[in-house]
Amino acid sequence: MRLRQLDLLRYGRFTDRTLDFGDGAGDSDVTVVYGENEAGKSTAFSAWLDLLFGMPHQHPYDFVHARKELLVGATLDTDDGPLTLRRTGQRTGSLSDESGRVVDDRRLELMLYGLDRDSYRTRFSLDDEVLRRGGEEIARARGDLGQLLHAGSSGLSGFAELLKQAEEEVDAFHKPRGRTTTLAEARNSLKALDEAISKARLDPRRFDELRRGAEVAEAACQQADAARDGAKRDLLLREAADRRRALARDIAAAQDRLAGYPGGPDLAEDALTEVSVAVDALKRASEAQAEAEARIEQAKHSLADLTPDPEGLIIGELLAELEAAEFDNGEPLVARASTAAADIQRRRDEWQAARTEARHLAEALAGKGADPGQIVLPRDVLNGIREAAEEVRERARASGDALRRLAETRAELGETETMPDGAEALADALDAFNALPFDPDALARIGRDCETVARQRAAGLPKAWRALADAGLPTLAELRTVERDLKAADDTVAQAGNRLREASETAAQREAERDAETQTGAVVTDAEIAETRARRDRHWAEHRDRLDPETAEVFEAAMSRDDAAREAYGRSVDGRARVIRLDAEIEALQKTVVRRRHDLVEAREARNAPREAVRRLAARLGLDEDTAPAAFFERRDALQGALDAALQVETAAADLRAAEAAQAAAVEKVATAYSAIVGAAAAGDILPAARRLCADLEARQASIASRQEVSKLVRRLEAEVSVHQNALDTAEATYAERTAGLWCANLTVEEMLRKVEGLAQLAEHHRIADSLERRVAQLGAALAAFDVRAAPLREAQGLARDAQVDDILRAGRARAAAAEKTARSIGQAQKDLTDAEQERGRQIRAIRNCEDAIAAQLHDQDQVGGDDPVSAVRALAARDALRAEIARLTAERRTLAEGFDAAALAAEEQDADPLRTEKLREALTAAEAERDEAIGERGKARNALDAAQQTAGGADQVQARAAQLEALREAARSAAITKIGLMAASGALRRLREDRRGPMIEATERAFALMTSGEWQRLEAQPTGTGERLVGIRDGAAVGADAMSTGTRGQLYLALRVAGHADFVTRYGPLPFVTDDILETFDDARATAALALTGEMGRSGQAIMFTHHRHLVNLAEMVIPNVRIVELG
């Protein structure tokens, strides 16, 4: 594929701009597009990419034309001839041909050999940035270089990273002297676990050692116990002796003090308490006796001053009786009488006022002289009458409303109408006509359009295309399979040919080397010395037989040759070995040549089948039998398109005929229906008249339906009127029933409703008057009852008969209170006198008892000085205490001797050395310390033994160790198989690279040498572990790409791209190669060389070079024959 013309129709700042790249005729297909900066070179390149791959959603060149308006076109030279395409910004169907027909993007994909946008940019376009970056990548990345070297061909790119990753995995597991590898860390961990296990497990020897330690500690402990016990006993004996000695001294001193106290028996234990209590009681009794006698005198004087009032006490009793009296209802009479006397007149006045108001209301309701008692109605009766009256009023109103609505609805009924027969048939016929699915006119237009399309699609196809299409077109899968099979077969043949050529060349080279070795005579073979020896022996035999000079010379010459041959044989050991090796190699190579020749024959034979398949498919598609499979797709699409269009024409014609017949039948049905209604056939176009008639009938039908609806409403309203009337009758009967027999029986409902409020007020006033009347009667009764019950009290006080209630009560209460007070004072004085006399007797007896008790405690005691009995008893008590102390000391001294040897104790008592006790105490302390230490040691030994016996035994650590080993085992296996796999893959990849790399390296080498004017003559790819590096050879020295200057690396990268382009073109076919000002940093010599390379590229494909340097344009014109210059202004 090449680009003949690029049309910037609406793109960026371009409108209808065309770049013409010519027809590519001539030796080299190179176009230089010259334009100043911002002239649109990048825009043009972007448009080219958009045409090939579609427009991105966010478009950088929609600043003049909106994205959806963008349009770019191109004319491409393809194997099948020129192809004009248009690309729009639409999301689907954006690619079309010059006729506007949508073109499947897969057509372009096939022409691009499956390259996507990025791949195409990477391989077929270069700018300064890419050139610079590519140079850096060569210096930096082995994998990238590999990808470049093998781009699109080897299929091995990306493996380097995988192998590197695998190698890192192996190294991560184990690397000699590695400290952080999995294995190293695991070994450290295992070592730690081993130590932990060693600590955790109880070794039998250690068990014995621990047990012996425990036994020794136990014995030491027992010995320390014994020593401690001895020291303790010595100290206890000494301390007992010391104590006994001190006690003896204390006893003697106490007995001396006892001699100064009076004699007599020991006092009772509580003697001092008893005497003290008796002395205190004696004192209190004497004081109480004097107080009682003073109270006796005071009581006697009080009695002499008081006079009693017996009448006042009687008045008090009468008053109490009156206050206890009750009224009829159980309330206190005195309270009721007091209230009645104050309230009775006011209540009488209120009663009269209520009676007057009730009378006035009764007259207002029933006329002059009406008795309120006759007029008033009970509350429930009045409520019942009011409810009945209100019901009558409501029912009457509802009945009236229903009658009014009935009358209004009857007035809406209009005149009766009828529908003619056949109306429905006419409507159905018109509906059927309207429902016809296709319009014959539209179908006719469609048919004509289809015919146009069909003609267009059949243009350019062979005349018999329809027969080919009817016979069945091959599927795309068939086409792809055949294309792929043929390509694979071609590739196989090419590869087989290359391999045969390589083997033949190698064999020839080895033969030449072998010939060179043997033809110089430097190498003497076994056969040659065998021959010289045989000749020498033969001539010797002849000479021996003849012994003449002639045979002697011959023999001498033969002997010399033999000697020389033997000498040369001895010297040519290495050469002979080389010849032998070369012979073996040649033999093997010849076998290889035969095998590869056979392979080539087989490959060629194997290619016959796909070729035959191609020929068959070409025939099915109406193409020449030698047509390339790539052209099959377009032809198949064209045939399929033409067939589809033809089928659409036929379908459209059939549709039109069916639609016209259906329309005629529908019109006939309409006419028949119309005539049935109007009685005669309509003249001319029946459809308008029929549609009008149908509309009239539909209106009449609506009117009839409306009248039927009103009639239904009238019947429903009549029923409602009847219901309301019945309800009114029922309400009126209820009202009459509730007023029957009452003074208001003749009142109408409305009259009654107007009096209802007055009747309610009358009932309330009548109730109040009755209540007040009952209250006045109760007050009068209370006053009368008081007058009867208060008569004795009134008379005892000498009051008049009409004395007021409060006066009677107040006077009685004062007299009774004074009499009672005097009586209480006399009683109290008499009681005080009696109490004081009794107290005086009790105190006299107590004094006698105290004196007796004191005397009893001092009985039989020697005389004690002084009259104070308490002091005397205290002196005797001190004597008794001293006696007890002497007894206690004596007993203690005796107790101290218990448990000790009497003689030893006596001896110890005799030894009064004051330092001996302290010495013994220190000895005990030391013994106890030793014992504590022994116990501690014993505890440690026991604990150690117990802990050892109770240990978990390291089972957990052993388990952890085993688990770690298992993990390590699995990791080791994994590392081993990864390493082995890595070895196998590395070797295989190396071999594959060797097989495939040669042409690329050579092409790159040539381009690089040309561009550098021969400075760099050779390139080599040197393996580096799992990767490789590219080195250039300059002056016999290898220089890595990373050591080259930036500019040289850029040239190397360009050389790689040129070689890659050539490789791609050879393998697949030409595609336009585009560069954008990549030579501006090159000097003229190198730019000239690069342009020459561009010219080379133009010989195998199309090269397009954008530049804004005029001198590069000039150089191109000089270097590249027939270069095409396009000015982009």
Binding site: A952, E966, A972, I980, G981, G987
Partner: protein
């Protein structure tokens, strides 16, 4: 009468499994053989057996740790409190063990020796001769007492019988000779795979190891309950194991994506498994290159799938590449070159050297994993695994 027969307890011998590196698993597997011993005693008490019979290799070596001995003592004491005696012979592993090294284990434990070969309980006589040397190459059967008439005669013997793969030949003895000796029941030990041998009215049982210790021991997991009565001799396995090693095959035929692989893995791991038993699974995956996918990814998927299945742990993953055609086939030329290279003597020599270097760096206990005998298997695995990686790596570009 009822007896519970166990052998090859290998008390406190560790489980050779990566499962124990998982903290949760390690917690559950702590002291696994002691837990199994406790389960054995539980079963004896529950079944009300007349005695528990230990047929050798109760301990893993001749210098048992005091703690291991204490564990046995504690459980025998528990049996004793339930009125159940224990009878023990020593096997090749614990032949040199001085059981009384730290004092008598228990009065309820009877150790049968050449000097005291018979223990009698009720109507049964239990005969046994324990190993007194680590290596016994002659049959011990001639030393066994003759059956005692009128009593149930039970023999305990630690023997490799006629020989068994993976087991050294110790105290070899023909099964027919055993059956002809006249005992009613032979309680055997030494071979870790359970087996029953039926004779005429007689029975011999190799109970297998009650707790497998590695993926090579997948056929044990139980003790044997023996019943002798008028109906004859019967035996049945009583499961004891905590952890079962299992080989889990997973066929990926027809699977082409990760979701499909995940489904197959989950189905395989969720297969029938006994209750209360953990599983340490060696997963053996079979499929074409495309079906297996990236081995590293498959391994990650496998572990993720196992985390979703309670009680299942992945011990290891083994790949078996099928040769049938399928999607994602590797680059033929590359794979063929790798196989061809791998078959050359030079490659084998180089691989041998690599293995030797790696093997030398490994702890001695696990050097067998890279033995020379494993060379072919490792080369095949290396080539296939790398082919898988290259295939899927390239597909992922």
């Amino acid at each position: 009468m009822k007896f519970l027969h166990v052998a090859d307890l290998h008390l406190d011998s560790p489980l050779k499994t990566q499962a124990a590196r998982n903290p949760a698993m390690a917690d559950r597997l702590r002291g696994a053989s002691r837990q199994v011993l406790a389960r054995l005693v539980d079963a004896a008490i529950e079944e009300r057996v007349d005695a528990v019979l230990f047929a050798g290799d109760t301990f893993d070596n001749g210098v048992a740790d005091v703690a291991s001995r204490a564990a046995l003592a504690a459980e025998v004491t528990r049996l004793s409190r339930a009125g159940i005696p224990a009878v023990l012979i020593q096997g090749n592993h614990d032949a040199l063990l001085d059981l009384d090294r730290y004092g008598p284990i228990s009065d309820a434990l009877a150790v049968l020796t050449p000097e005291m070969p018979t223990f009698r309980i009720a109507e049964a006589s239990i005969h046994g001769i324990g190993f007194t040397a680590a290596r016994v190459t002659d049959s011990l059967l001639p030393q066994y007492p003759q059956p005692e008439p009128g009593r149930w005669n039970i023999g305990l013997m630690h023997t490799s019988l006629d020989g068994a793969p993976g087991h050294d030949p110790y105290a070899p003895c023909a099964l027919s000779d055993l059956m002809a000796h006249g005992y009613d029941y032979w309680g055997l030990g030494h071979i870790h795979k359970r087996a029953e041998y039926q004779g005429e009215g007689r029975l011999a049982v190799m109970p297998g190891i009650p707790q497998g210790r590695s993926v090579r021991e997948v056929d044990g997991g139980s003790a044997t309950l023996v019943e002798l009565d008028l109906q004859g001799v019967r035996a049945r396995a009583i499961p004891l194991e905590l952890l079962r090693f299992a080989r889990v095959p997973v066929d990926f035929a027809g699977v082409g994506d990760q979701a499909g692989r995940d489904e197959r893995l989950r189905e395989a791991l969720a297969g029938p498994q006994p209750r209360d038993v953990l599983i340490a699974a060696r997963v053996e995956a079979t499929g074409t290159h495309g079906e297996l996918g990236d081995p590293l990814m498959l391994d990650a998927q496998l572990h993720e799938a196992a985390e979703r299945v309670e009680g299942v742990f992945i011990e290891s993953l083994r790949l078996r590449v099928a040769t049938r055609a399928g999607p994602g086939a590797p680059p033929d030329d590359l794979a063929a070159l790798m196989r061809a290279d791998a078959a050359t003597p030079g490659f084998r020599d180089e691989a041998q050297a690599v293995l030797a270097e790696l093997r030398a760096a490994l702890p001695p206990e696990i050097r067998d994993v890279l033995d020379e005998g494993a060379l072919d298997e490792l080369i095949e695995a290396g080539v296939e695994t790398m082919t898988l990686r290259l295939c899927t790596g390239r597909a992922g570009e």
